[in-house]
């Protein structure tokens, strides 16, 4: 019976051109916005590659299009739902259904099913848009699936509310207007108003629940809320329609009101239960809603409760709900560490608290663990996880940069200095200092790691001997070597059994990123703690090839292979660069290596990178350079369990379309499909009318 009624609804709908026109229109608008987003994504793609933690194609293109589709459905559904019952009353056809031996429940479910089938066609058309992207790369299918599921659920909510309002009256236009109005209110309930107390409003807002799905998050409370919403309104519809011809007047209104109250009470208590037992699953393949493994490891190693007090006004100057942004960010940590307690304090209400805590930024939090406190005003995963590392780490680590020979300075702000990297290390709890051989005597000591960063003045023989003694004593070393002369450090290279090849690595692929060819792109990574799970591109300017000679002393692992389509340019680097098979070594070229050996039952660690530029202020922000540098230092200072947060690289980072494919996709989405839908509608209408 349900099927019969649903089928009749579909024949009614698709028999007339209106439904087809609506489908074509909605699809056209969505396709247009989709293609616009695709176009701008293809344009900014090279820049995105250089931003750490950049969104993938699915997040940048598909999720916003689905959010837009939800709004289009919100507008389209009242048009379709209003006629379901009110329209039949208006045309006096309801008598056919009511005098037939059909339960009101079946009528309601049949109508609902019919409308949902139509809406599903819209959803399938919307899902067809991301499917086109598969022609040019990969997609985060989990995220697409979450979005489609969310769209389906909110469409069901729209349809059930529309159906109920349609049951109440005899005028379709009134029902449509009421549905649209109510849906808009329910949709935007979330937008903060004057009151500031938005707890309940957020819990009731359809948009707030849809947003979870939009981010690829399955939230048990959202799932329960949306389902209860549908069930309540279908129940009410069926009760209202069932009362038709049985009860009348005030008696019916009273009975219906009582049932409505009861249904809402039951739904509210179930909803409350669902809210209290809320769990969330991240179904996006990129795991953008989950913590990286490194953060999870840090949390696992923190035994005992963790407290955070967030000083934030209920909304910021732009009226954004900052607390919610912070709460959602911290929720990822709370999912991994249930005894992470978060409280919010309004600094305007408790200025004394805020002052005592030393709060300066508009939004800042104090995290406490075992009587240690740290402040944080950046709300991103690396920042918070590093703070947690500092809280968890018992001692201090000292990194010393060799000074006195024109090396890059850890506190210098010039482009060729490493001030930015130095402060990043400091922010992670390292003490960073300059070590001057001339100011001390004997074997260098007093730090956990020595960094030699591109000296520009010849080291004296005695100085080099002391560096060699440091190595012999088992000290850890990071050596950044530029192309060009070694300034007296040749014995060091011999000690490490390295051959440092002359010439600069040239990489034509850099041009794709609008970089000079002298920037070698690191893509292949060795199996090593430093580069474990590493997916970002690293960028090494003016790199030189590092070759490890056969030897018994050092165990070596090549870390980075760069310039896969490039070569080592032995000619003049300033002249036009071109591959010369006679002299140049073809890529890929090894530009970084990790060395270890066992000395007095302890592992000595050394890393050599054939580019001094990659950690400078100029290039630190390029691709994964910062992460790579931090990983190196962590490993060299034996902080393996606290390796940097390797923000997972997204699997749908790159899309590549050739012009013809793009043209075919645009033509199909913008012209062929909508026109096909329109034509189908017109042809079917014409055929049916002609008989």
């Amino acid at each position: 019976m349900i099927q019969l009624i649903a089928r009749k609804e579909l024949v009614s709908l698709f028999g007339s051109p209106l439904a087809w026109i609506l489908l074509a229109l909605v699809h056209w608008v969505l396709a247009w916005s989709f293609l616009a987003r695709l176009d701008s994504f293809l344009h900014i793609q090279p820049q995105l590659a250089m931003i750490a933690n950049a969104p993938g194609a699915t997040e940048a293109i598909v999720a916003p299009v689905f959010a837009m589709a939800a709004v289009m459905l919100l507008m389209a559904t009242p048009l379709m739902s209003a006629r379901l019952i009110a329209g039949e009353r208006h045309n006096r056809t309801l008598a056919l259904l009511v005098s037939a031996p059909v339960a009101a429940r079946d009528i309601v479910l049949g109508k609902f099913l019919g409308l949902m089938t139509f809406l599903c066609v819209m959803i399938v058309l919307a899902t067809a848009l991301p499917a086109c992207l598969l022609a040019g790369g990969r997609l985060d299918l989990g995220l697409v699936l979450g979005n489609a599921a969310g769209l389906f659920l909110v469409a069901a909510c729209f349809a059930s509310l529309g159906l109920y309002l349609s049951c109440l009256g005899t005028r379709p236009a009134t029902a449509a207007a009421a549905t649209l109005g109510l849906l808009l209110i329910l949709w935007m309930l979330d937008t903060p108003g004057e009151s500031g107390n938005l707890g309940l409003a957020r819990d009731l807002s359809l948009l707030a629940h849809y947003e979870h799905f939009n981010r690829g998050l399955i939230d048990s409370f959202s799932l329960a809320y949306l389902t209860l919403f549908v069930v309540v309104f279908l129940t009410l519809s069926s009760h209202r329609l069932g009362g038709e011809g049985l009860h009348d007047g005030a008696g019916r209104a009273l009975r219906h009101g009582m049932l409505a109250l009861l249904a809402i009470l039951v739904a509210a208590s179930l909803g409350y239960l669902a809210r209290e037992t809320r769990t969330q699953w991240d179904i996006s393949q990129n795991g953008r809603n989950s913590l990286s493994q490194a953060s999870v490891t840090v949390l696992e190693n923190m035994h005992g409760p963790l407290e955070a007090v967030v000083y934030a006004a209920p909304q910021d100057a732009q009226a954004r709900d900052v607390r919610r942004i912070v709460r959602e960010f911290l929720a990822r940590y709370q999912r991994a560490k249930p005894d992470f307690n978060v409280t919010f304090v309004d600094p305007a209400e408790h200025p004394d608290h805020a002052r005592k805590a030393g709060i300066q930024a508009p939004v800042e939090m104090v995290v406490s663990f075992r009587d240690r406190h740290e402040r944080l005003d950046q709300f991103n995963e690396p920042a918070l996880t590093h703070l947690l590392m500092r809280l968890a780490r018992p001692g201090e680590r000292v990194v010393a940069l060799l000074g006195g020979h024109g090396e890059r300075r850890p506190d210098g702000m010039a482009g060729h200095d490493m001030g930015a990297f130095g402060s990043r290390l400091a922010a992670r709890g390292y003490t960073v200092e300059t070590f001057n051989l001339a100011a001390t005597a004997g074997t260098p000591a007093g730090f956990d790691l020595l960094v030699i960063a591109s000296p520009r003045i010849e080291l004296r023989e005695g100085e080099v001997d002391r560096l060699l003694a440091y190595l012999d004593a088992g000290g850890n070393l990071l050596w950044l070597v530029d192309a060009g002369p070694l300034h007296g450090l040749q014995p060091l290279a011999e000690k490490l059994e390295l051959t440092l090849m002359p010439g600069v690595v040239a990489d034509p692929r850099a041009r794709d990123l609008k970089l000079p060819m002298t920037v070698a792109l690191g893509i292949g990574y060795g199996r090593h703690p430093v580069t474990r799970d590493f997916g970002d591109t690293t960028m090494f300017p003016f790199a030189r090839q590092v070759i490890v000679d056969e030897n018994e002393t050092w165990r070596s692992v090549p870390l980075v292979e760069a310039a896969h389509q490039g070569w080592v340019e032995t000619g003049d680097a300033d002249a036009a660069m071109a591959f010369d098979a006679a002299y140049d070594v073809p890529g890929p070229v090894n530009v970084a290596v990790a060395l270890t050996r066992i000395l007095q039952d302890r592992e000595q660690r050394v890393a050599v990178v054939g580019s001094g530029h990659f950690l400078t202020n100029t290039y630190l922000g390029y691709g994964g350079n910062l992460d790579f540098g931090i990983n190196l230092v962590n490993w060299l200072t034996e902080d393996e369990d606290l390796m940097t947060i390797q923000l997972r690289s997204v699997l749908d980072a790159g899309l590549a379309f050739d012009e013809p494919t793009l043209a075919v996709i645009s033509a199909t989405l913008l012209a062929i499909l909508p026109l096909g839908l329109l034509m189908s509608g017109l042809i079917i209408g014409w055929l049916r009318g002609r008989r």
Binding site: L4, V11, R92, A95, L96, P101, G245, D248, R688, R691
Partner: protein
């Protein structure tokens, strides 16, 4: 008769705000009988029929169809019912065949029996060859016949027809009346009308309604036996109260 009546209504009352449309009407319909509800416009015939078919809740009183209480077991009671409202419940965007198949499905006609039922009913109602036409494109006469077709296609025990011959031309009226008489041999039929001639030509029994009340009832045979004319009876019953709402319509009703 010991057999349960096809339809039994007791003391039905219905008010619309201050206006009482039906005030305490009872009626019995035996199987194999055609009952005519005669009354001027506004007498409450349509309101009464909507209550009989479960489309309108009675203020008080009860309805039984084949002995089944309409309020307590509405689905079972409605299974014995066919109803043509005063406005035929047609979907203009559907084709005639689609519509009748839908109606048959709603009335729980087994899928296997639907084609035969459709054939039969379309032949009876003079709808042959219209199966693929859109209802919206049909003329008034066809629509009225389609409305009757949906009411009888599942061979219900009780057929309620609200002014079934409105909008038909004289020839169609004649065939329609013949059809109703034929239905009356096997089913219980109630039809409402304001046309005396209609009652005289098809009904076994007549109940005259006026301003919401049943003012007279008799069998046609009994009237003939007593030499009473329906017309005189109707005039007497409906003008007795004086200020009939639709007094102006009455001369037309007598044509």
């Amino acid at each position: 008769m010991t057999r349960t009546p096809a339809l039994l209504a007791t003391n039905l009352v219905r008010d619309f705000g201050a206006c009482s449309a039906v005030r305490g009407v009872s009626l019995v319909l035996a199987q194999g009988e055609v009952l005519g509800l005669l009354g001027p416009n506004g007498a409450g015939k349509t309101t009464l029929m909507r209550m009989l078919t479960g489309n309108l809740a009675p203020g008080s009183g009860s309805v039984e169809i084949c002995g089944i209480d309409l309020r307590d077991r509405p689905l079972e009671a409605k299974a014995h019912l066919g109803y043509l409202p005063d406005v035929p419940p047609l979907y203009p965007e559907l084709a005639v065949g689609e519509y009748l198949r839908f109606a048959a499905g709603l009335r729980r006609v087994p899928a296997a029996a639907i084609p035969a039922a459709l054939d039969r009913v379309m032949r009876k109602c003079g709808l042959e060859g219209t199966g693929r036409r859109l209802i919206g494109a049909l003329s008034q006469g066809y629509r009225q016949r389609l409305g009757i077709a949906q009411a009888i296609l599942h061979e219900p025990d009780v057929i309620v027809l609200d002014e079934p011959t409105v909008g038909l031309d004289p020839a169609q009226i004649r065939t329609m009346r013949a059809l109703i008489r034929e239905l009356g041999t096997r089913h219980g039929v109630i039809l409402s009308t304001h046309l005396l001639a209609e009652v005289e030509s098809v009904c076994d029994r007549v109940q005259i309604m006026h301003r919401g009340s049943m003012v007279h009832q008799d069998t046609l045979a009994g009237l003939r036996r007593r030499g009473l004319s329906l017309e005189a009876l109707f005039m007497q019953a409906t003008t007795g109260g004086g200020d009939t709402e639709d007094a102006a319509d009455e001369p037309a009703a007598l044509s």
